[in-house]
Symmetry: C2
C-alpha cells in the first residue's frame, strides 16, 4: 500500500512528509496532527509571550496546513493516533467525529514530547511546549496579568520565560532544584554569572529547592517547596519534557533513555515499516556513542528529513549530536557543546578543564564585554571534548567554532592554531576560543 | 653574547621580546623602535579616527614602553636599525644623537610593513599603517576638517576609513581600481552588496579606475584617475602595504612573495642567528602550501611568540594561515577564509561554488537580517576550500565555523552534519553555514 502515515505535524513530521512527497510524488502522504498547528517554532514561544516577537502566533508558524496541502500532503488537524497494529499495518485515529482505521504502507512516528507536569490540574498553571499552550498562556496573561508569577525550572525554557515575565514588569519568582541556573549546559562556576544577571533583572531566585506541591482549590495560589511557600497566581512549569511514546510502545518499538524511541541511524525503529524521528527518539552522541534524549529543533528537523529520504528508499544517515545549545537572558549569552567533566569521566576519558576570561570585542571597542570560556580536554589524546561559554553579545555563536572542531576530532592545540577571524568589532586578536585552547591544552598536559 | 636584539616594537617584535625574556630572564633583550609607539592596534586606527573609539591614542596601545621596561626589556624609541653585519653579529642603529654599533647574539627582525605610496609628498595626503600616522591624521582633521575627502583603495582600510569620514558628515569619495569593494576577500557578486551599502551611506564611489596622479603644489587638490578628476583637500591612501625588508636583504635573507622575508616554520631566516616574524615575513598557507604575504594581526602576534620561544631554544612551529579576515561597514559584516575559485583552480583543485542566502537570526526575531554565504568546495575530494560571508550583525564570526572546519580538513557534508547551535536570537534552525555546506556539496557532486 503506497501510503505514508506520519504521526505528528511538528518540525520532524512535516520534514519527513515533505521530503518523502518531494522524492516520490506518487506517494500518498497523510499527516496526523493532534493539535491546532503544524510546523511551529517552539523555541520562539517565550519571545512571543514576552513581546520581543510582535504580532499574532502565526509569526511562529513555519508552514501552515494550507501550504502543506498545496504541496500535495494530506494534513488532518485535531486528529489523534490512538492505536496501531503493526502486523496489519493499521492505525486507529480519533477525531471529534469519532474513530477511524487507516492503513499504511509505512508509518513514521513523530509525535514529539510533552511537558512534564506531575501536579493535579489547577487554573493558572501553564506549560509551553506547544504553540497551542503558548497561545493559551498569552491569552490568559492578556486577560488578567498576574500579581505574582512563578516559574518552576531553571533550564532554557524557565530562564527564557522568567525574562519574558520581568520584561512585562511582573513580580516573578523562579524556583529551581539546583543551586545554579542552566545547570544542564554550564558548570556551577559559569552558572553563577547567569544567577547574578537573572537576579539583577528583578527575578526572585529560590534555588536548591524542588517544587513539591501547587496550592489552591481551582486557581493556583502558591508553589510549595520543602522549605518555602512562593505565592503565585500564575505558574509556568518548565521542568522538562518527555517523549510521547505510547504508539511506539504499542507497535513494539524498543525504548531507550528517558523512554525515547530507539532508532538506527536511518531512523528505523526495528519494527517493519515503522520509522520514528524528531524529539521523541534517542540520537547517538557523537563523542560517547550512547543514545541520548535531546529534544532540540535542529535534530528534530534533520532526523525528519532523513526519515523522509529513507521512507522512499534512500540511505541517509543521522550523523550524531554533540548537544550543542544556546540561549540568552537579556544580553547575557550562554552556550555549550559536547561533554562536561563528569560526563567525560563517565565515558572513560581523563578530562582536564580550564576556564578563561576574555572579551567579545577588542577591549577598546564600544560594546566589548567579558566572556568566560570553559573547555574540557582529554589528557590522553588532547582531544577537545566540550565547551561552555557565558558572556555578552557575540558569545553564543562562538560555540560553533568549538563544535566544528570537536566534530572533526580537534585537539586543544588545533583550536589554538586555527586561523580565526580578527577585527576590533568582533573580538580580540586571539579569539577567546583560541585562548581557551591554549590554556586548557596546557592544563591537560600537566 | 647573550643579547637578543629585536628590530621593531610592534605586536610581533614585542611578543618575541617578551616571550624570550620570560623564558630566559638572564637574556639581555633590546627592542629598537623607529617610531613613537610600541604594541599598538593598527586595526583600531580607523575606528579611533572615526570617533567610534573615544579618548586619546593611548586607547589603542596594548603595552607602553614603560610597562615593557618594567618587565626587564630595554626598549629604545626613535631608534632606527640601518645596517647589519651578520658575520660580525653587529647592527648599526641611528638615533637623533647619532649612530651606534650594537652587538647581538640573536637578531629578530620584526620591522613590519609600510603603506604603499607611489606619489610625491603633498600636504593633506595620509596613510595610517602606524599609530604615529593615525595621530597625525586625526590632528589634521581636528584642526581643519576637509571639504572633500578622498579615500584611494577599496580594501579593508579604505572601506573602514570611508566609514569614518562619512560618519563625521564629510563629503567623501572612494576611488578603487576594481569594480567591487573588498575584492581581495569577496567575489564580485558579494562585493556588490558592499558597494550598495557604502554608496547608500553617502560615499561617492569611483570604481574600476586607478588613482594615477595627485594634483596640487604643496597641498593636495585632487586625485586624478585616467578618466576622472576627484577634487580633494584630504587624501587617504589605502592601496596596500609592503614588507620592510631592507635589513633582511642586507643580512642576506631570502625574500619571497611581495618581498616578504622567507622563514621556516620556526621563524628562522636561514642566516645564522637571524629570526624574522610579523607582518614582514611570508607565512605558509595551510591549503596551498605556498608562502603568502598576509600582514594580519593574529599572524604577527603568533609568529612573534614562536620566534620568542625559538630564540631561547624552543621548537615551536607556525601552523600556517588560511587568510581568514573580517571587517564591517556600518552594520554590514564581511568575512572570508580560505580560497576562492580562482586560487583553488591555480592550486590544482577542481572547485565548485554555491552562494546561499539565509538569515542571521530566526526570521521572526527582531534584528534578523540577510546573510549570503559563498562556499568553495573541491569536486574531487569534497573538501571545503573557502568561504565568504556578507550580511547583517552576527555574520562575521560565523566564518570561524568554516575556518575551523577547513583547518581540520572537513568536507561539505561534514559542514552540513555538524551540530551547530540554534536559538531564535542567534540564527535559523539550520545555520547559514550548514545550509551552504549542503548546497555547495550538492553543486560539487554534479
Amino acid at each position: 500500500m503506497e501510503r505514508l502515515v506520519v504521526v505528528g505535524g511538528g518540525a520532524a513530521g512535516m520534514s519527513a512528509a515533505s521530503v518523502a512527497k518531494r522524492r516520490e510524488p506518487s506517494l500518498d502522504v497523510v499527516v496526523l496532527e493532534a493539535g491546532d498547528h503544524i510546523s511551529f517554532s517552539a523555541c520562539g514561544i517565550p519571545y512571543w509571550i514576552g513581546g520581543t516577537v510582535e504580532g499574532s502566533s502565526e509569526r511562529l508558524v513555519v508552514r501552515s496546513a494550507k501550504e502543506a496541502r498545496e504541496r500535495g500532503l494530506e494534513v488532518r488537524m485535531r486528529t489523534r493516533a490512538v492505536d496501531v497494529d503493526p502486523d496489519a499495518h493499521e492505525i486507529t485515529v480519533e477525531t471529534e467525529e469519532g474513530t477511524e482505521m487507516l492503513e499504511y504502507g509505512t508509518l513514521c512516528l513523530a509525535p514529539g514530547v510533552e511537558a512534564v507536569n506531575p501536579f493535579d490540574p489547577l487554573d493558572g498553571v501553564h506549560t509551553i511546549r506547544h504553540l497551542d499552550d503558548g497561545i493559551r498562556l498569552r491569552d490568559a496573561l492578556a486577560a488578567d496579568p498576574p500579581e505574582h508569577a512563578c516559574v518552576v525550572g531553571g533550564g532554557f525554557v524557565g530562564v527564557e520565560m522568567a525574562e519574558a515575565f520581568v520584561e512585562q514588569g511582573w513580580s516573578t519568582t523562579l524556583v529551581h532544584s539546583r543551586e545554579t541556573l542552566l545547570n544542564d549546559i554550564v558548570a556551577p562556576s559559569l552558572g553563577e554569572t547567569v544567577n547574578e544577571r537573572v537576579r539583577a533583572a528583578g527575578v526572585d531566585l529560590v534555588l536548591g529547592q524542588r517544587a513539591e506541591e501547587l496550592e489552591g482549590r481551582d486557581q493556583v495560589e502558591a508553589v510549595r517547596t520543602g522549605e518555602e511557600r512562593v505565592e503565585a497566581d500564575l505558574v509556568l512549569l518548565a521542568i522538562g519534557a518527555r517523549p510521547r511514546n505510547d504508539l511506539a510502545k504499542q507497535a513494539g518499538c524498543e525504548l531507550g533513555p528517558a523512554g525515547a524511541v530507539t532508532v538506527d541511524d536511518g531512523m528505523r525503529t526495528g519494527v517493519p515499516d515503522v520509522f520514528a524521528c524528531g524529539d521523541c527518539v534517542a540520537f547517538e552522541h557523537r563523542i560517547t556513542g550512547e543514545p541520548t534524549f535531546l529534544p532540540l529543533a535542529l535534530h528534530a528537523n534533520r532526523s525528519g528529513r532523513i526519515a523522509g529520504e529513507n521512507v522512499v528508499g534512500g540511505d541517509e544517515r543521522f550523523p550524531g549530536v554533540l548537544g550543542t545549545a544556546a540561549t540568552k537572558f537579556e544580553d547575557l549569552e550562554v552556550a555549550a557543546t559536547g561533554l562536561d567533566v563528569e560526563q567525560a569521566r563517565e565515558t572513560g576519558f581523563e578530562p582536564a578543564t580550564e576556564t578563561i576570561t576574555s572579551v567579545t570585542r577588542a577591549g577598546y571597542f564600544p560594546g566589548s564585554s567579558e566572556v568566560d570560556v570553559r573547555l574540557v580536554v582529554d589528557q590522553g589524546s588532547q582531544r577537545v571534548l566540550g565547551a561552555q561559554l557565558v558572556g555578552g553579545p557575540g558569545t553564543a555563536k562562538r560555540v560553533d567554532t568549538v563544535a566544528a572542531a570537536i566534530w572533526m576530532g580537534a585537539t586543544a592545540s588545533d583550536l589554538e592554531a586555527m586561523d580565526l577571524a580578527y577585527a576590533p568589532p568582533f573580538g580580540p586578536t586571539w579569539d577567546p576560543v583560541a585562548i581557551a585552547g591554549r590554556l586548557s591544552g596546557r592544563a591537560a598536559r600537566r
